[in-house]
């Protein structure tokens, strides 16, 4: 028996971005506790924005200095590898622009505890109080998003999942207008989210029973030597997949997404549609590729079916929507399906896997920014009672406000994957990776991968129909006499829309630099 206790080592330099975000979140909580009310917003905004920018700078510094660790850090709890750093960078950029949106006036309730329509609520509105707790909550959620895809064992991943989700459950219920919808979204998200994370946890328990450990290295080692058709392993895999696919919003676990996206305050919807999706895809990839890589004969058909189903369900149900946020939610479901095509596209060689990984990383960046841009436009089209989310209210927007409608149309074209937008190269990269993976496998499996790409292209065509329908509605319909007003955008919102627009156009015309960056990040694949 070895009785000496070895002190754990923590690589503070490598973990600095994560520690900075969590540290700033805790400082934010302390500000809420001790700073006077009138000072809070003035302190929270710089703390939040500077910490996100600082964390991004630290990520860039780590990439530029070239000391990307080749072994897991923090005693094997986290894997800060190329894909992790790329995903961190994407999440930090997306959350920075989302915080700029959150920062705008009038999105959040003055007092969440006041019953809607009561005298308390009126009083809170009149006194101009605001929930500045939103900023530390958002920071905790962002910290969870960073932790979730970088986790190197299932326990850390579960903790990351909860740290990401718990603040988001609360943030969903804090909309200033239509508070009943917002509270309802919050409750639905919470109950279903807690339900799905229980599945994730039971899956973890089953895998632990099979492998005797929850670290991805240990799991894949146990699979290399042990039986692959062990019931514990298969049960564990299925339950883990339920938990992860729920967070991603893949069919048949997509039901929460439209409700929550519609009810939540729009800046939070933007954060969920971009940051959470990126983190969930990263975590899903890590579990399936790094943890359960040896089981790919079992999980690839399952994910194949789910990818096809998700693309079809997302695209078809989007057609019937009359609410702009709901429509964007279904579009987000369809995009989750396109990303899953990349997850299925594994290969027997590391180079082949790196191509699929590069495609997914690239897709995450371009889709995330276009989404935030689209939701930023949604915040600007307003009725007296809040945002004008019903599609009929958007009729003729192109005649009243050509620039705004033009920008929105451009984001929709990027979602549809029209050439000269970033979305085209995203889809192109994912589909090519899938075809290459099928070609390599040959014969029947190759045909299956081609089939999945065909489903993807058909789904894209269906999706293009409803995107174009909105564009036609905006530009070729007469505006209603009492149409919605276009809010004068704040500097923050202008910055968000400009950044999103710039990247969508820029990457659509010159994709090489970003593709190269994704290629470099993907080259080393996951470490475990």
């Amino acid at each position: 028996m070895n009785n000496t206790i070895v002190a754990p080592t923590i690589e503070y330099g490598t973990l600095a971005p994560l520690l900075l975000i969590f540290g700033a979140a805790i400082v934010g909580v302390l500000v809420e506790a001790f700073a006077p009310r009138y000072l809070r917003k003035a302190m929270q905004v710089p703390i939040t924005l500077l910490s996100i920018a600082g964390a991004f700078a630290l990520v860039i510094l780590q990439v530029v200095s070239g000391d990307v660790p080749t072994t897991p850090v923090a005693m094997g709890a986290l894997a800060v590898d190329g894909p992790s750093l790329f995903i961190w960078g994407v999440i930090l950029v997306l959350s920075f622009v989302c915080v700029l949106l959150i920062n705008d006036e009038g999105h959040f309730v003055a007092s969440a505890a006041a019953v809607p329509g009561s005298a308390d609520e009126e009083e809170a509105e009149r006194s101009g109080s605001a929930h500045t707790e939103v900023y530390p909550l958002a920071l905790f959620a962002i910290g969870g998003m960073l932790l979730f895809p970088a986790a190197n064992d299932l326990l850390t991943m579960f903790v990351g999942l909860e740290v990401m989700s718990l603040p988001l459950y609360l943030l969903c219920g804090l909309a200033r207008r239509r508070r009943l919808l917002s509270q309802e979204a919050s409750m639905k998200y919470f109950l279903l989210g807690a339900f799905s994370s229980a599945f994730f946890l039971y899956g973890t328990a089953m895998i632990y029973g099979y492998a005797g450990t929850v670290s991805f290295a240990g799991i894949s080692q146990a699979m290399a030597t042990g039986a692959l058709l062990d019931p514990l392993l298969l049960l564990g895999f299925s339950l883990l997949a339920v938990g992860l696919l729920f967070k991603l919003g893949a069919a048949p676990f997509q039901a929460w997404k439209p409700d929550v996206y519609q009810g939540a305050p729009t800046p939070i919807t933007a954060l969920m549609a971009s940051g959470t999706l990126v983190a969930a895809v990263g975590a899903l990839l890590r579990v399936f590729w790094a943890g359960l890589g040896n089981l790919d004969w079992n999980w690839r058909p399952v994910i194949w079916v789910i990818a096809a189903l998700t693309m079809i369900v997302g695209s078809i149900l989007a057609i019937t929507q009359t609410d702009i946020k709901r429509m964007l939610a279904y579009s987000s479901i369809a995009h989750a399906g396109f990303l899953l095509v990349g997850v299925v596209a594994t290969s027997s060689t590391a180079a082949g896997n790196a191509i699929s990984m590069q495609a997914i990383l690239f897709y995450l960046l371009v889709y995330g920014l276009a989404t935030v841009g689209a939701f930023a436009v949604v915040t600007l089209v307003r009725d007296p009672g809040g945002e004008a989310n019903h599609l009929s209210r958007w009729a003729g927007l192109g005649k009243r406000s050509p620039i705004l409608a033009g920008v929105f149309a451009f984001f929709l074209l990027a979602f549809a994957g029209i050439p000269l937008t970033s979305g085209f190269f995203g889809k192109y990269a994912v589909f090519t990776a899938a075809l290459a993976s099928g070609r390599e496998a040959g014969d029947s499996l190759g045909a299956w991968m081609t089939g999945l790409v065909v489903v993807g292209v058909v789904a894209s065509a269906i999706a293009a129909f409803f995107y174009v329908r909105v564009i036609v509605l905006m530009f070729f319909n007469e505006p209603a006499a009492d149409g919605p007003s276009i809010a004068i955008p704040s500097t923050g919102t202008v910055a968000v829309i400009s950044i999103a627009m710039l990247v969508t156009v820029g990457v659509g015309v010159f994709p090489e630099p970003v593709l190269q960056l994704a290629h470099n990040a993907a080259a080393g694949l996951f470490i475990r």
């Binding site: 909860e162 609360l170 309802e184 409750m187 109950l191 339900f195 946890l201 039971y202 632990y208 029973g209």
Partner: protein, 98 residues
């Protein structure tokens, strides 16, 4: 013999899952989710005994902490809904659909 404990854990998880799907009161639904988490804990501890390391027992502590945090958030949300609607039934929250 650890099998009995695993069967018990599976039963608790199933009871919790069925409860979430069939019960109508949000508080009860939430308690069923907690039951599922506790079923996970039992499975972890049992497997720790079976495979002969302490990892599973340590995970159980983490799960307890997460479950406690979840209770805070969950009850806050359910109480807010109850104050607004005078009802905690999950059938009554039906404004968001289609």
């Amino acid at each position: 013999m650890t099998t009995h404990y695993l069967i018990l854990s599976g039963l608790l998880f199933a009871i919790g899952a069925i409860g979430v799907l069939t019960r109508r009161n949000a508080i009860v639904v939430f308690m069923c989710v907690e039951l599922m988490l506790n079923a996970c804990n039992l499975a972890f501890v049992t497997f720790a005994r079976q495979v002969g390391n302490l990892e599973g027992q340590i995970i159980a502590f983490f799960v307890m902490v997460v479950a406690a945090a979840e209770v805070v958030v969950g009850l806050a949300i359910i109480v807010t809904i109850f104050r607004t609607r005078r009802s905690a039934s999950v059938d009554d929250v039906n404004l968001l659909k289609y």
